[in-house]
């Protein structure tokens, strides 16, 4: 069967009432958490991981994907109305979006963000459908050495490229890898401290919930009272023909930036949204409007972040490599079902994959239908008092962690890792490398062991496959480039106004 008829089958099962319900639930939740700063899709999916015990894999994944897409939409509302990004992917949107809102054009800013997200999400999902299956077909031929190399690249790229400080990134990564080591999976106990309850390793649900939810809740509790921000009142979003004329090109360009960056190992939404903003500022016919609320500066980045969300699913589905925190937690959910994402997924779980892809289109359409008329309602969420919100989050976090094994020990681990999450936020250590380290570390080790077992211990097998050699070459080149850059930076006179602003850790 070709992709199109498989996709049609996927629509068939995605449009069943149950799956539609989960898609609607996902996009509603996703938008809500997207609107609220500090709470993001990664935390939400982590909190919902325990539902995977009772819900069928396709329904759960549909909901998670809806949350992921919804988070990208919701973040823009907060950026525009409050000048505080709801999500890290909406930081750039705030630059022009809030200026537009202050100039009384909030409705147009929200409209171009929502419609742009829809356009980009649809194109991105279509590209995902076109690209993922062929990529999987190529990748399925690869052996353990190539996998090992690609995972190494993904780990190092995510750590080194994202974030302001590489040192902090690597601290996060090694913390994650260390947590992933705990257990006796390899035959001998490692880091179990003689504690039999640690013999099975630390469940990823506990780590994810602790780092994202408990860490954030403790962090917010430490800064509970802040002066309220001025919110700009808004009606139902709409845009004029002129706004549309100025928006459609930025939408398409934003999509072109977002999708490939999402698909790259060091992807994420921050870089393409920023690039899209720069490009629109260069190409605009009305440069005088930039900095005072140019609609192009909202349209481009918002399209880019949704396209990157679709792009992220390419490596996740075809390679089993997560490149964002949310993708990492979705990967954990799939592993919880015993589904191993990667090239074999398209053969083994064909129905599941195509239902998921079809439901992405549906989620996208649902989001547009929800967000255009309901924007004023979403803005009301910002009035939720933090104590209520975080009490609820802590409740669900504890419930989720306890439901893994029904052991008090997991609650203790939750608290310990929650404190770790708080300290990471305090010292600006990014959480993404940690969570990817926890999830990919054991898989990385498995691939290494696999490769060495086949070659009966000969290390040279690691560079015996062409793909592996190419990946190592990329790694070395990247390493050299970074080294060269830091040498140049060190020689250049130090910028005294070095930005020591703490990076906003968005869960």
């Amino acid at each position: 069967m070709d992709s199109l008829s498989l996709l049609m089958d996927g629509f068939g099962s995605a449009l069943t009432p149950t799956n539609l319900l989960y898609a609607a639930l996902g996009v509603l939740l996703g938008t809500a958490v997207g609107v609220l700063p500090g709470i993001g899709p990664a935390m939400t999916v982590a909190l919902l991981l325990p539902v995977t015990y009772n819900v069928s894999p396709s329904s759960a994944l549909i909901m998670f994907a809806g949350i992921y897409y919804g988070g990208m939409y919701g973040g823009s509302t907060t950026s525009i109305l409050l000048n505080t990004p709801g999500e890290s992917s909406s930081v750039v949107t705030a630059i022009e979006g809030n200026k537009m809102a202050k100039a009384g054009r909030a409705a147009q800013a929200l409209a171009t963000a929502a419609i742009g997200s829809f356009v980009a999400g649809s194109i991105g999902t279509a590209l995902l459908v076109l690209v993922a299956a062929p990529v999987a077909d190529v990748v399925v031929e690869l052996g353990a050495p190539s996998y090992f190399a690609m995972m190494l690249l993904a780990l190092l790229a995510v750590t080194a490229v994202l974030g302001a400080s590489r040192l902090r990134g690597f601290i996060g990564l090694f913390l994650g890898l260390a947590i992933g080591l705990v257990g006796t999976q390899t035959g001998q106990p490692r880091l179990t401290f003689g504690q039999p309850l640690l013999a099975d390793g630390i469940d990823i649900v506990v780590v994810a919930v602790a780092i994202f939810a408990v860490g954030e809740a403790l962090w917010v509790a430490a800064h509970l009272r802040r002066k309220p921000l001025d919110v700009i009142p808004v009606g139902v979003p709409w845009m004029s023909r002129d706004d549309l004329r100025r928006s459609w090109r930025p939408w398409l360009r934003g999509t072109a930036f977002g999708f490939p960056f999402g698909a790259l190992p060091a992807g994420g939404a921050e870089m393409p949204t920023f690039l899209s903003y720069i490009t629109e500022r260069k190409l605009t016919k009305k440069p005088e409007e930039f900095g005072h609320g140019a609609i192009e500066g909202v349209a481009g980045p918002e399209a880019a972040n949704n396209a990157s969300a679709a792009g992220t699913l390419v490596p996740l589905l075809a390679l089993g490599l997560p490149t964002t925190a949310t993708a990492a937690v979705i990967l954990a959910a799939m592993q919880g079902y015993g589904i191993q994402p990667g090239p074999a997924l398209f053969d083994n779980e064909s129905a599941l994959v195509w239902t998921l892809l079809a439901s992405l289109f549906i989620a996208n359409a649902l989001l547009l239908a929800l967000n255009l008329p309901m924007a004023p309602l979403w803005a009301k969420l910002l009035r939720t008092p933090r104590p209520y919100l975080y009490a609820g989050i802590l409740f669900f976090a504890s419930l989720g962690a306890y439901s893994v094994n029904f052991q008090w020990f997991d609650l203790l681990l939750l608290l310990v890792f929650g404190l770790l999450g708080l300290l990471m936020r305090r010292f600006g250590i990014p959480v993404l490398p940690l969570i990817i380290g926890v999830i990919l570390g054991p898989t990385l080790e498995y691939q290494l062991a696999q490769a060495l077992a086949i070659s009966s211990g000969d290390v040279s097998t690691l560079w015996s496959e062409p793909v592996a050699v190419v990946v190592y070459a990329v790694l070395i080149l990247g390493g050299l480039a970074l080294a060269a850059k830091s040498v140049i930076d060190a020689r250049a006179p130090r910028d005294t106004s070095a930005p020591d602003e703490r990076e906003k850790v968005d869960a």
Partner: protein, 130 residues
């Protein structure tokens, strides 16, 4: 003597403010307007933001009587107003009141009720017109 107004940036607060201004102007008294937020939500529409506070201040300055606006942040809104009342010893305290269902009062509490019950001066409860 002084007139103290417990202000919130909505119709109830406006009603209280209007009455407070009328009282203070009639008696030639000092007017103190307090606006408190719990500061625990990202957005509190009853707390006057920078623009609203500015226009409120200029409105107070235009009055014939001495008037000031005090804004503060406290987990206990009613307690903050009562503290201000203890400090300036007003002749009256003006507060806007709203309709509350028993359940709503249970969940949200009632600042107005605490002011009426606990203030040491007469409390004038004002409703918005209409």
């Amino acid at each position: 003597m002084t007139v103290l107004v417990a202000y919130s940036a909505d119709v109830y607060g406006e009603a209280a403010l209007d009455h407070g201004i009328a009282e203070a102007s009639a008696a030639g008294e000092r007017l103190v307007v307090v606006n408190v937020t719990r500061g625990d939500a990202l957005v509190d529409e009853r707390y006057a933001g920078a623009d609203a506070a500015g226009s409120l201040r200029s409105r107070l300055e235009a009055l014939d009587v001495e008037a000031e606006l005090r804004q503060s942040m406290s987990p206990d809104v009613a307690g903050e107003v009562l503290a201000a009342a203890g400090e300036v010893s007003p002749r009256i305290l003006v507060v806007g009141i709203r309709r509350r269902t028993p359940l709503g009062k249970l969940v949200m509490g009632s600042v107005a009720q605490r002011l009426i019950l606990e203030a040491h001066c007469p409390v004038v409860a004002v409703k918005p017109a209409g």
